[in-house]
Symmetry: C2
Subunit: 457 residues, 2 copies
């Protein structure tokens, strides 16, 4: 089909929406390393995980054989309220850059949580409700995940307890109010409500908090209350599975118009949005059906793929979660406080880590001011103010489009625009005022943080 | 077509999008009263208006005969970036209410300005650019219009100077940063940058500002700079014309599925969103082709339709604009500072005022806490956190759906969901904390404010 016929936005009919999620592990010959019990050093069992997580989600977490998982009817109904998300042809950005490249982005920000997080939140809330639970606990950093989960819980009538990284709780009061409007309780972390929180506060009374620490508190809160389980917005394989709705929709939309991307770009924090976008495409690569250049973009201030180590590590600061083999900077790694937005997790999804190790994904790190420069350029021509996280992908998409301009190549670029920046205006304000700075950890800092990796028996 | 087949969201193909705006005045036998020159008391001429407004927009302002106006290609291209907006079947809300009514809403919030305002902003910026202007000036209250205009100006490379009502400037720093990110300059009003601002500051040094006052400043700024004109986000007929894209898209989407609304509901501040939604339907009524119940919903704290007077009045506090015949509370009317969100304008679009006077529209006023109650209910089941303004329409839509539950009538309700509440979290916070209060002006207050209506020679 000729390019002239491709609309600005490709939507799918309800009947065209994916009815199954995709589990890329089924197509991987070498599987990701299993989660380990930190006490025994042996692979965790479903039974062990079910103390913390919902039963059905544990099944998905450990499933390495089923390539497709049916999406329950109730989740499909909820998806229909805000999905399909549009696949957008960035005609205006292409024109502004003067590039022969064709740029597409899959925009996940058109819902009140402001991001892709809702795709997994509604699934996790559904399975919790199915199991007859009273509620769930979780952590949130920038607040997107907490917002998404509070929306999902309110839909199913579940209690929702959110531990919010203290610095975000203070800097993002609006996110907090959105969660409260959806009926969630929000506690700044570290807090006095958990043992691990009290311990961290005693040692570091002035701490800003961290995701790893909020995870530990949320896990403790889940396991110490009857009828509660812990849910997580990224990193885990179950989350990546739910996020494949992004990549599956993208493929259906592109196939409708005969579009084949040469390059797929996404930002990488815990890895679930990137994994969700790319795994249907990587599945084709694993099955020998196609080839794509897949690029993970991470912040230079928290460079787990580009400068971390592929090793077993703790997923949380409190060291209560199972060990995961992943690219990590060490569970004690603290990104510079001047770093805006999310993508500040010390590790990376074990699926993505393994795919990266197998050479199916490449990684780049980008600095904060150049990310906001790309965000501003994008906002001004495409009419969407992007989240700082998503803007990491925009940065590399623009760089690649400009490279095409030099070489004259008409490459087709697809990137994931995971969310909007409406709750990140402090960071935009700092950028507008010229007060934003970059920070790259030194080799010594990373080496020191990596020195605390656990020893596996 | 049976209801089972109606999807959650009806989107239109690019090829189905309206290519013309609709001008309801062409179908009105009795036209709205003309704008008057406050000095002479005579109808303003195009030439007089062109000192303040762009030439092409003046033509639209005064056009009473052409029912359809072609949308220029460049505006259609921009519309394609964020339009069509979805027409949503509120299945979840219907279920939560247990109503036999069928509820639809046209959602205009899926763009970075967060509202329908962008529909007119891009048109006004386009005509300013066409005329070879350097830039435009405007006022903004809650900030939606200013954001929309800054986006539109940045797209066409125009300078954008925004006078923002001081209380909003202080309470909504994030809106301000969005505008700055799009390259606009934002000045709190009243300011020292204009004569009228200095005069108001001298008389009321502690004023919170008002829309009427910001309008006066923006008009002065436009007329005192070479190559600038003033643009306005509501009230004027030209704005209402641009907003008909909402109603036209709604009709096309409903016609596709054979849906005919019994009742059309919208919130009313200056009147342009409501006018844009309903005028294609009212056109059918005027031509004797159909009949609809049309309801304008306004805040009880600023009740221009339900308690105002149909008379010539000043459009702005500084009394520099033409006089308009409209339902008004008097140009000196100041809504209570505890009133959240927009819809705080003292007057009403002269087109809507005339339609209301002819009995084609009815009006209701609703109190603030009941509006937020409806907003919360809607957010929790429909997954969209609505703007306080839009929630006025939600309140009445819910009331009408509950009435259907009592009577058993299966009415079809369409309402306009003009925007999202992401930048209104202070107000939501006050509601969440139980600190929101209602205010209804006394008859004496309104009579006093109306006593300053101008005398027409």
């Amino acid at each position: 089909m000729s390019n002239e016929k491709i609309p600005y936005k490709i939507y799918l009919e309800e009947s065209e929406l994916p009815k199954q999620w995709y589990n890329v592990r089924a197509d991987m010959k070498k599987k990701p390393a299993p989660l380990l019990n930190p006490g025994t050093g042996k692979p965790v069992t479903a039974e062990e995980l079910e103390h913390v997580f919902c039963k059905e989600l544990v099944k998905q977490e450990l499933d390495e054989t089923n390539a497709y998982i049916d999406i329950p009817e109730e989740i499909l109904s909820f998806y229909k309220m805000y999905r399909p998300s549009p696949l957008v042809r960035a005609y205006c950005l292409e024109k502004a850059l003067g590039t022969p490249a064709k740029i597409y982005y899959k925009f996940e920000g058109n819902n009140t949580s402001g991001s892709h997080k809702l795709n997994s939140a509604i699934a996790q809330a559904y399975y919790a409700k199915q199991q007859g639970l009273k509620g769930v606990t979780t952590e949130t950093g920038a607040g997107q995940w907490g917002t998404a989960l509070s929306m999902a819980c309110s839909y199913f009538g579940l209690d929702c307890q959110v531990y919010m990284v203290k610095v975000s709780y203070e800097q993002k009061p609006f996110r907090r109010e959105v969660m409260r409007t959806y009926g969630a309780s929000v506690t700044p972390s570290p807090s006095n409500t958990t043992e691990v929180g009290r311990k961290i506060l005693a040692e570091f009374p002035d701490t800003n908090g961290s995701l790893g620490c909020a995870i530990s508190e949320a896990v403790e809160a889940a396991t110490s209350q009857e009828g509660y389980r812990y849910v997580l917005g990224s990193v885990l394989s179950q989350v990546l599975i739910h996020q494949t709705v992004i990549g599956l929709e993208s493929k259906i939309a592109m196939d409708k118009y005969g579009i084949k991307p040469d390059m797929i770009i996404g930002c990488a924090g815990g890895g679930s949005n990137l994994g969700g976008l790319v795994s249907p495409f990587i599945g084709e690569m694993l099955r020998g059906e196609a080839n794509y250049q897949v690029i993970a973009v991470e912040p230079a201030s928290c460079p787990s793929l580009t400068r971390g180590k592929y090793a077993y590590d703790f997923c949380d600061t409190g060291k209560v979660c199972p060990l995961a083999k992943m690219y990590t900077l060490g569970s004690g790694f603290m990104p510079s406080p001047n770093h805006a937005g999310g993508l500040r997790y010390h590790g990376m999804s074990s699926i993505l880590s393994e795919l990266y190790d197998q050479g199916l994904i490449e990684a780049r790190s980008v600095e904060q001011t150049s990310v906001f420069e790309a965000a501003e350029k994008f906002a001004r021509v495409e009419g969407i103010l992007p989240a700082p996280e998503s803007s990491h992908a925009i940065r590399v998409a623009i760089d690649e489009a400009l490279r095409c301009k030099e070489t004259g190549e008409e490459k087709t670029i697809l990137f994931g625009l995971t969310g909007t920046g409406y709750f990140d205006m402090y960071a935009y304000g700092a950028y507008n005022d010229g007060k934003m700075s970059d920070y790259i950890p030194t080799d010594e800092e990373i080496a020191k943080s990596l020195s605390s990796l656990p020893e596996i028996k």
